[in-house]
């Protein structure tokens, strides 16, 4: 079970959060291969992984997490605007 530091609320148990994965980056119109990748392909690295979580049973805020998928170590959490958390 992970302990995740919400940039707004501080360290909380994983059960308060929902994993959002890599998230989407909508490609420009007309980029059909880009659209296919958006639908079905996501980063899936072994090692540091930039993902998003939402504090769904808390402040309901999404935020960035960098987590090592081989150790589950959380390397950083940041607000969506890139700021360090105040918590």
């Amino acid at each position: 079970m992970l302990l995740i530091t919400c940039p707004w609320c501080g360290a909380r148990e994983e059960t308060e959060f929902r994993h959002g994965g890599e998230g989407v980056r909508v490609p420009p119109d007309g980029d059909d291969p880009g659209w296919t990748r958006l639908l079905y392909y996501r980063e899936n690295p072994a090692g540091p992984y930039a993902e998003r979580w939402v504090h769904v049973h808390g402040c309901r805020q999404w935020f960035h997490v960098v987590r090592d998928t081989t150790t589950h170590q959380i390397l950083s959490t940041r607000r969506l605007d890139g700021q360090e958390g105040a918590a």
Binding site: M1, L2, L3, A11, E13, R18, G20, G23, V24, V26, D29, W35, L38, L39, R52, V54, V56, R60, Q61, W62, T71, H72, Q73, I74, L80, D81
Partner: protein, 945 residues
């Protein structure tokens, strides 16, 4: 063994009666089940798993690989409870025999209570032996919040069996003083508490036996067991070391135990053999002989494979006149008629001697307990001195101390515990000056070099009785067979021989299994290693994982404000997502179909009321609310006028339907959005995700308000009359209040009620929303004031029938995971003018392929034919295999049409209206006709009227 007339930590003034395998026996307060059995002369506790060999107790603690029992408890029965850490209590009932290796489960009442707790601390210390106590003492003196957990019944670890002194006091006395100091300083000390599962980010699952260690009558209100979720800023693993047995022929006889166990039984429980032989490869094993000798037990000798140890303990043994069999091993044993040990065969430089003994204490040395470290993939390295794995580097936030860290003497363990505590506290920002908290001192002991010995080769070559894993009956012969089959990797050996798969996960068998495999394959022990450990470190009773979340508390039940009102009307309820909703309101003697028939006709012919409070409701507001909803919903919600509603749908990025609902524009910059019951939370999260991650610059606020409003739909041709009575100040005529209009006003005296002309039944309908708690006022008023209009409450069953007649879908029931709005007959809704989430996929050819599964209506051929949801639709019933055209997604008895009708997904279905198909679950088929999904009032005259 026999009980000595005095000594031990038992209370002889408080005898306890218990039963083992039906025999009435007596022990003392302070005993464990294991010590009580030994004290009662029960040396043979049961038989082994596959060979049926008699077995006894091996250890006095966590090393136990033989002594497990089925224990009756609270009307239930628990399999495979470890005897050596189960405190004896009055009336304890246990079964051994074959139950030492295989338990049983029994259904029936179970009054036991299991709880969970959550704890946070600066420092969690696992293990209350010398290192753990030293660490906890130092940390608590430094002002840290400390938690100390000990798996055994009492704190102390190795100090409880050792004759050493600490800070000038006898070890046991120092332990009680230390425990008292910790208790007084507010440190939470848990005993009989196993740190079972190591979690990421310094979490620990700790399983504690509390009430389960006492008689039910004495457990009071205590739970049997408690599961602790602990989060610590730093963790010290002071989990100690386990003593390793040595493998030799017939090494499993009752009476053969570990040297630490022999000492613990003597010191703590006053149990001693008549003649106690010791077989040890390290100095530490000499302690058993010295302790026995001091207690007056006959010690026929100490068998030591080493030439001569220069250590202090062997010197003391020599001084005491004890016989030493140097350069010798025990190569076999013999037993009496009941299977108990009676002699050991000692082979030395001058040949073989048979030595009479009733207990043989064995020690292959001690090895660190590293299960928790290994659970999180902590690295280890092979230590040739110990002949076992030691930690390489601790994991972040963790420290390993004492015997677990390879510091095997009391003196070293105390110092290492203090060292670890200082380092751990420093990581928490707490600096402890060296002078502030002195490290407990214990006299130094000169130790001779260990001999690492795993196995004594059987003199006659028969190693089918040389046991590596007592619990699984794995022998050296089994390992020989595995290696002979070409197997080299220790994990394959484990899986081929089952070594290490027992209830204790082969804790005391693993190193021997790896080392013997190495010797059989001619490889270095370090290369072979040991099989991995998987969590938990100790078996956890299933119920401790569920805690109180059983039965009614398994998952929260949500009820609407009208729940009692429904119940008072005799409603039958059903789960819908987490809610309980009223299915129907049967009258006495009515069948299900009769109830639905009556309720349906009431709605179609007069007026019905239904509780739809569980529909999700979301308040969306802000300067960009219109823009935002336009980006998410498929149709032009932005063009909805204030005071109007529009039916719409949401798509995933891949164009599949996520949910449908009604968007009401309350004000220029404010919307009230409904969702289906099951998708309420999903849609809120969906909105927040897009808003926060894609369009953070947009000024929109999304608030879930499902439980702020009770919503009651009033539907039927006389609904207008009823609403007029309930809201006399509201203009309810079709001109003033047309379909899809929304008004606010006073309803049944409730001010500020929202009334929306939306319909899920196809009838003239008004959905009235009022503050949650006031729902019953509207409900009661509607029932009272509508009595002469024929008002009838209806439930989900009728709601379903009415919406199926009208071809209204439920997303998730009438759609599949990949169904698009086109597939669901909602293509009309898709705006040609704008982009929205999913649009680009919908524009792709695959999304509009002709043969996709498309929504149709189906009508049964006659009055008797029932349309079962889930049925396949085929061309030729009774044939198999054949291709499947589609399936029934919804079916109901239509009171209005006098036969069953339904909705279905059919390949290319939109162009197949009029076709005959057969509905089947795989055998006989019922004839149906593919029709338009709207079975009733296709022009919508009733709804709009």
């Amino acid at each position: 063994m026999r009980r000595l007339p005095a000594g031990g930590d038992i209370d002889r003034s408080r005898p306890l009666r218990f039963r083992y395998d039906g025999r009435a026996l007596t022990g003392f307060t302070g005993d464990t089940l294991a010590s009580a059995l030994l004290g009662a002369g029960v040396d043979v506790i049961g038989t082994s798993v596959s060979l049926g060999r008699p077995r006894g107790i091996i250890s006095a603690g966590l090393e136990e690989s033989s002594g497990f029992a089925q224990v009756a408890r609270a009307g239930a029965t628990e399999p495979l409870v470890r005897m050596s850490t189960l405190p004896l209590y009055a009336g304890l009932e246990a079964e051994g025999g074959s139950r030492i290796v295989k338990g049983y489960l029994r259904d029936g009442p179970d009054d036991g209570r299991f709880d969970k707790r959550f704890a946070h601390c600066d420092l969690l210390v696992v293990g209350a032996g010398p290192a753990g106590l030293a660490a906890a003492l130092l940390a608590s003196r430094a002002g840290a919040r400390v938690m100390l957990v000990e798996a055994d019944v009492v704190a102390g670890g190795a100090l409880l069996r050792d004759a050493d002194t600490v800070d000038g006091q006898p070890a046991a006395a120092w332990v009680s003083n230390a425990s008292a100091t910790l208790h007084n300083s507010g440190t939470l000390v848990l005993t009989s508490a196993t740190a079972a599962v190591a979690l990421d980010q310094n979490g620990m699952i700790v399983a504690q036996r509390i009430g389960a260690n006492r008689a039910v009558s004495e457990a009071g209100g205590l739970p049997e067991q408690r599961l602790w979720h602990v989060r610590a800023r730093a963790i010290i693993l002071a989990t100690g070391a386990l003593e390793r047995p040595i493998v030799f022929q017939d090494n499993d006889r009752p009476g053969i135990m570990l040297t630490g166990a022999a000492r613990a039984y003597l010191r703590r429980f006053a149990l001693a053999p008549d003649r106690g032989l010791v077989f040890t490869a390290t100095d530490d094993g000499y302690r058993a002989a010295l302790d026995w000798h001091a207690a007056g037990v006959v010690v026929p000798g100490i068998v030591d494979p080493r030439a001569a140890s220069t250590g202090d303990l062997p010197a003391r043994a020599r001084a005491a006149g004890l016989r030493l069999f140097a350069e010798s091993v025990v190569e076999g044993t013999s037993a009496d008629g009941s299977g108990r040990l009676c002699t050991a065969r000692v082979r030395g430089p001058r040949g073989v001697v048979e030595v009479e003994c009733d207990v043989l204490a064995v020690s292959g040395g001690f090895e660190p307990t590293l299960g928790l470290h290994q659970q999180l993939r902590g690295a280890t390295r092979y230590d040739a001195r110990l002949g076992a794995a030691v930690p390489a580097t601790p994991l972040p936030g963790q420290w390993i101390a004492g015997a677990a860290n390879g510091c095997m003497t009391t003196r070293d363990a105390l110092a290492d515990g203090a060292r670890a505590a200082r380092e751990a506290l420093r990581s928490c920002g707490i600096d402890v000056p060296g002078t502030a908290c002195p490290t407990p001192e214990s006299p130094a002991l000169l130790e001779g070099a260990h001999e690492v010995i795993w196995r004594v080769v059987a003199p006659d070559g028969d190693e089918s009785r040389s046991f590596v894993d007592l619990h699984r009956d794995t022998t050296v012969s089994g390992l020989v067979r595995a290696v002979g089959a070409g197997i080299g990797h220790i994990e394959h050996v484990k899986r081929y021989t089952l070594v290490g798969t027992g209830v204790e996960q082969g804790r005391s068998a693993k190193t021997n299994a790896g080392a013997i495999t190495a010797s059989l394959t001619g490889r270095p022990v370090a290369d072979v290693g040991t099989s991995g450990s998987r969590p938990p470190t100790e078996p956890l009773t299933f119920r401790i994982l569920s805690g109180r979340a059983q039965g009614p508390m398994y998952e929260p039940v949500r009820t609407t404000a009208l729940h009692e009102s429904h119940a008072a009307l005799g409603a039958i309820f059903e789960p819908a997502a987490q809610w309980m909703r009223a299915s129907r309101y049967p009258r006495a003697g009515e069948t299900l179909r009769e109830t639905v028939h009556r309720e349906s006709l009431a709605v179609r012919g007069a007026v019905g009321i239904v509780d739809v409070s569980t529909l999700g409701k979301i308040d969306v507001r802000g300067p960009d609310a219109t823009w935002f909803l336009d980006r998410l919903y498929a149709n032009d919600v932005g063009r909805v006028a204030v005071g109007k509603a529009r039916y719409s749908a949401l798509c995933h990025l891949d164009g599949s339907l996520l949910d449908d609902g009604v968007v009401i524009r309350i004000a220029e910059q404010r919307y009230f959005v409904t969702t289906s019951t099951g998708h309420a939370a999903t849609v809120v999260e969906w909105m927040e995700e897009w808003l926060q991650t894609e369009w953070p610059e947009r000024r929109v606020w999304v608030t879930p308000v499902t439980e702020r409003f009770s919503t009651i739909a009033i539907a039927g041709p006389t609904a207008r009359a009823l609403v007029a009575r309930l809201a006399p100040a509201m203009e309810v005529g079709n001109a003033e209040f047309p379909f899809l209009a929304v008004r606010h006003g006073t309803v049944a005296g409730v001010e500020g009620a929202q009334v929306a002309r939306v319909s899920f039944s196809g009838e003239l309908a008004y959905e009235v929303s009022v503050p949650w708690a006031l729902g019953p006022i509207i409900w009661r008023a509607a029932l009272t004031q509508g009595e002469d209009l024929g008002v009838t409450p209806y439930g989900l069953d009728t709601l379903q029938a009415l919406r199926i007649e009208k071809g209204y879908i439920i997303v998730g029931q009438d759609t599949e995971a990949l169904s698009t709005p086109y597939d669901a007959g909602l293509g009309w809704m898709i705006s040609a003018k704008k982009d929205f989430v999913g649009r680009r996929t919908l524009d792709r050819r695959a999304s509009q392929r002709d043969g996709r599964q498309q929504l149709v209506g189906i009508a049964a051929a006659d009055r008797e034919t029932c349309l079962v949801e889930g049925c396949a639709l085929v061309r030729a019933p009774g044939e198999s295999p054949q291709s499947i055209e589609g399936h029934i997604t919804s079916g109901c008895w239509s009171a209005t049409l006098g036969r069953h009708v339904g909705l279905a997904l059919v390949a290319g279905g939109r162009r197949r209206h009029g076709e005959t198909l057969y509905a089947t679950l795989g055998d006989s088929g019922a004839q149906v006709t593919v029709v338009d999904p709207v079975h009733y009032d296709a022009v919508g005259a009733r709804r709009d009227g």
